[in-house]
């Protein structure tokens, strides 16, 4: 056996895919953690389509996990695959379309039986054709796993559960990754069950060593460390970062957090994660529905705590009547909407930037509310802290628009230094002498927050219009107009608390790309490539959707064409046109997946060619 060749590459995208029961998510996460620890930049894209476990082997049951890793900083899931691991024919069928020509396709040949081909709706064996177009590596993973475990006292069903670990071991060899992380992880997970632990460790090795021996795999790859800013890192998914942000807000603001939530995909993880954070003082309350969840959060805010809700589209709709009460009573509240494909139940597990206009306009009458959106998984943490700070400072509900892709994809995240986090302890109003419930701070226009328990500040508020001076119920005509204006002015005035936009590229020119939310990585990637091809294009990325940063209008005016890529039918573009009267153009992709770099690049190219 000759020593194999090692090739250096900059960038690899691999997707693990198999049946829902095959453990593909765990496999992908292990590969991701290991890869991050090695020092590559990583970005992941999990894909678990079916909410219900479909019958094994069917197309509906396929679960996938994509890892894009690189020796350069890179924050987009890439569009195409260098390598695909397909544990069964259904996985192959669902994913083969994304593999680059001549890419690596590793299959578990044991599962390519007639019955499985039928379940995957293959009319004939697909392999002969695929062998022409890809490097198909056919491995009898099931058989090899069983063989490796023949001395271990487990049922064959149990042994077969290790198949994914075999595949993982093989890819570790293929991309020269160390096995320590996974070994430690297996130890933690199966420490109590020696036989299972041993089986997994053995299989991991078996997969790795097969790489060394298998002739069909003549090359392995090295991807060097990325040049990454110094610091301490961890791999983080958006929902995790959101949960951490919520817990951190309680600490930094020295005020308990009360989460009212009702399970809904893809937001449920946040509730689940926070339920484990009891020792951080977080109270979670699984409510009977989203309306109650919002009521609980607003009740908590009235009582002087940090009320927060996590939900997704259909639940966010249901909360709006109560959000409107929070607008009217000017109570702090943070709403996190992990957007998903719609309308209606839509595509619950898929990504969409669906709810921007809903956040702005989904309540009866004019009801202004600030809206923020994170641009990467780690940014969820930062944005959530910002949301709490603004909510309390301005006494207002604030919406954070996360989404199903940010929620579940991961990236290496540089941990903030504790000292760098802004401490902003909540200061309730305590002084009975100076108290009046709607007496506003002259600068922020915020009213005072005096929760029950504060002697001398007893007061009563509600959803009926209030007197500008006293806060009592008022049906007066002119008072109503005045209150409308002041509510609007308060939110508009928050612009002074929002940093100016930084422009990526020249400050004026032919083409500006305007993005928001999860598309930042893909847009940056497309722009980088466009520049490499000699095109001149700039971009800005909005994290504040209401109010807009102060310099947005100025920037827009500097460009001949403005293109707004969105995973919706054109929501931000609508706002930009209305507010700034600029001919911004929509670039909509509503296909339940992240923005594709090459498609956007092509669009940019077409435009700039047009202009040329």
């Amino acid at each position: 056996m000759a020593t194999k060749r090692v090739e250096e590459v900059n960038d690899i995208t691999i997707r693990f895919s198999g049946d829902s029961g095959d453990g593909m998510q765990l496999t992908g996460m292990n590969f991701t953690e290991t890869t991050a620890l090695v020092g590559n930049d990583v970005s992941t894209l999990p894909d678990y389509p079916a909410e219900i476990r479909a019958p094994a082997g069917t197309l509906a049951g396929v679960s996938g996990f994509q890892v894009h890793f690189s020796s350069r900083p890179s924050h987009a899931p890439s569009d195409y695959l260098d390598a695909l691991v397909a544990m069964n024919p259904a996985a192959l069928k669902n994913n083969i379309g994304d593999v680059l020509p001549n890419g690596l396709v590793i299959i578990n040949s044991d599962s390519f039986k007639k019955a499985n081909l039928v379940k995957a709706e293959y009319l004939e064996d697909p392999l002969p054709d695929l062998r022409e177009r890809f490097q198909v590596i056919e491995i009898a993973i099931t058989k090899l796993t069983r063989e490796a475990l023949k001395d271990i006292d487990l049922s064959s069903k149990e042994k077969d559960r290790c198949k994914n670990i075999f595949a993982l071991g093989l890819t570790y060899w293929l991309y020269n990754r160390p096995m320590e992380f996974t070994q430690t992880w297996l130890n933690q997970k199966f420490g109590k069950n020696q036989a299972v632990l041993e089986a997994n460790l053995t299989t991991l090795n078996a997969g790795y060593f097969l790489g060394e021996t298998l002739e069909a795999l003549p090359v392995s790859y090295v991807i060097h460390k990325a040049k990454i800013e110094p610091g301490t890192y961890r791999n983080i998914m958006g929902n995790q970062a959101t949960a951490m942000g919520i817990a951190a807000a309680g600490h930094l603001m020295e005020c308990d957090v009360v989460l009212g939530a009702y399970p809904i995909t893809p937001a449920t993880d946040i509730l689940q994660e926070l339920a484990k954070y009891k020792h951080f003082g977080v109270k979670t309350f699984q409510a009977e529905d989203e309306i109650a969840a919002a009521g609980i959060a607003v009740g908590a805010s009235f009582a002087g705590k940090l009320g927060v809700c996590t939900t997704s589209g259909p639940g966010y709709v249901l909360k709006q009547e109560i959000v409107n009460l929070a607008v009217m009573t000017e109570l702090p509240l943070v709403l996190i909407d992990v957007q998903r494909g719609g309308p209606s139940t839509g595509l619950p597990t898929k990504v969409e930037q669906s709810d921007l206009l809903l956040a702005l306009y989904g309540r009866n009458s004019d009801s202004p509310m600030p809206v923020l959106a994170p641009s990467s998984p780690g940014d969820c943490f930062t944005i959530v802290l910002e949301a709490f700070r603004l909510a309390v400072k301005y006494m207002t509900p604030v919406t954070v628009l996360s989404d199903g892709y940010l929620a579940n994809s991961s990236e290496p995240w540089k941990l903030p230094e504790i000292e760098s986090l802004v401490r902003a302890p909540v200061k309730h109003h305590k002084d009975a002498e100076t108290f009046s419930p709607y007496k506003r701070d002259p600068e922020t226009l915020a009213r005072p927050w005096a929760p029950p328990g504060t002697a001398g500040c007893e007061h009563r508020i509600g959803g009926i219009e209030k007197d500008y001076e006293t806060g009592d119920v008022s049906y007066d005509n002119n008072n109503h107009h005045k209150m409308m204006e002041v509510r609007a002015a308060k939110i508009a005035g928050m612009v002074r608390d929002i940093p100016d936009l930084e422009i990526n590229g020249p400050e004026s020119g032919k083409l500006l790309i305007v993005g928001w939310g999860n598309t930042e990585g893909a847009i940056n990637e497309a722009i980088k490539e466009a520049r490499e091809e000699g095109m001149e294009v700039s971009s800005i990325h909005l994290r504040h959707l209401n109010p807009f940063p102060a310099n947005l209008g100025e920037i827009l005016k500097g460009f001949e064409r403005i293109v707004v890529p969105e995973l919706n039918m054109g929501q931000l573009v609508h706002l930009l046109r209305s507010e700034f009267l600029v001919p911004a153009e929509r670039y909509s992709k509503v296909a339940g997946r992240p923005l594709r770099v090459h498609e956007l690049l092509k669009h940019i190219t077409d435009i700039l060619k047009d202009e040329a």
Binding site: E229, H251, K278, A303, L325
Partner: protein, 340 residues
Amino acid sequence: MAETIQLTRKDFVSDQDVRWCPGCGDYAILSSIQKLMPELGVPKEDILFISGIGCSSRFPYYMNTYGFHTVHGRAPAFASGAIVSNPDLSVWLITGDGDGLSIGGNHLLHTLRRNLNMQILLFNNRIYGLTKGQYSPTSKEGTKAKTTPDGSIDHPVCPATFALGSGATFVARTVDTDLKHMSMVFKRAAEHPGAAFVEIFQNCVIFNDKEWEEIEDKKTRPDAALKLEHGEPLVWGSSGNRKGIKMRNGIVSVIELSDDDDPAEKGIRIHDERMPTPGYATILSSLTRPDYPMPIGVLRAVESSVYEDDLIGQIDAAKEQRGEGTLEDLLYSGDTWTVE
């Protein structure tokens, strides 16, 4: 706090003009609550009245305590949020038959079964007052109201039976014209740990006048209502018209008693608020006029764990076991690595 003992009824009267129709039963309820407050010995600033929308739900504006007039039907959610945030508060939820049982039935169900510590006062006038006279879920079948010119066809829900079916630990009934009884029931409710549900028969003079006349009127009340008292037999009726209730295998029968019959001897059921399951109280709550008396007072009062106590217990236990979490723990947990 010693000074709270000196509070008087006036301390609980807010500066807002009361805007119910003259003659509305809500006035008496308000006044009975304002009178009771000083007796409870809770400082004003620790008292919170929360309501939905309806005539009854204007109540908080008139109490000189903290008050939150929220949205239609959802007051239990706001109250739940407030009490888990600050379990020291004395939380009073004010709702109506429409607010609490039409749009808000589900929140009531879940708040009752969770047994969060609050008093829930449901003003049952069997009509929508604020929106001017549509039938409500408690309106009797055949009610001709503005949306049912030919008579309503729904079978009404019985608030107490519903509360019992929802697992309420405290269920009581009282009447807007009987100040003493109201006061007793409200006080019992305030003392009950957990959710205390009280239905108040309330007269809407404008849209459903005299709905409860028999029970509201002092003269007819003794023969129309059965005042429940724990450990006492199920006996009612004015002198010469005394009756008692027997239960056998779940079947209720009314027994005539002479004024000096010993009810126990006659096999009359002794009232027991503390029956572990809701069956017995449901038998009582389902009794209807004119065949049976209308039981008022405390139908059920059992002890059970209180949601926010358990929640705080879990938080304390977690802090004890895992140590109070710090920002460092939060961020630097899990697998990290350092790039230099």
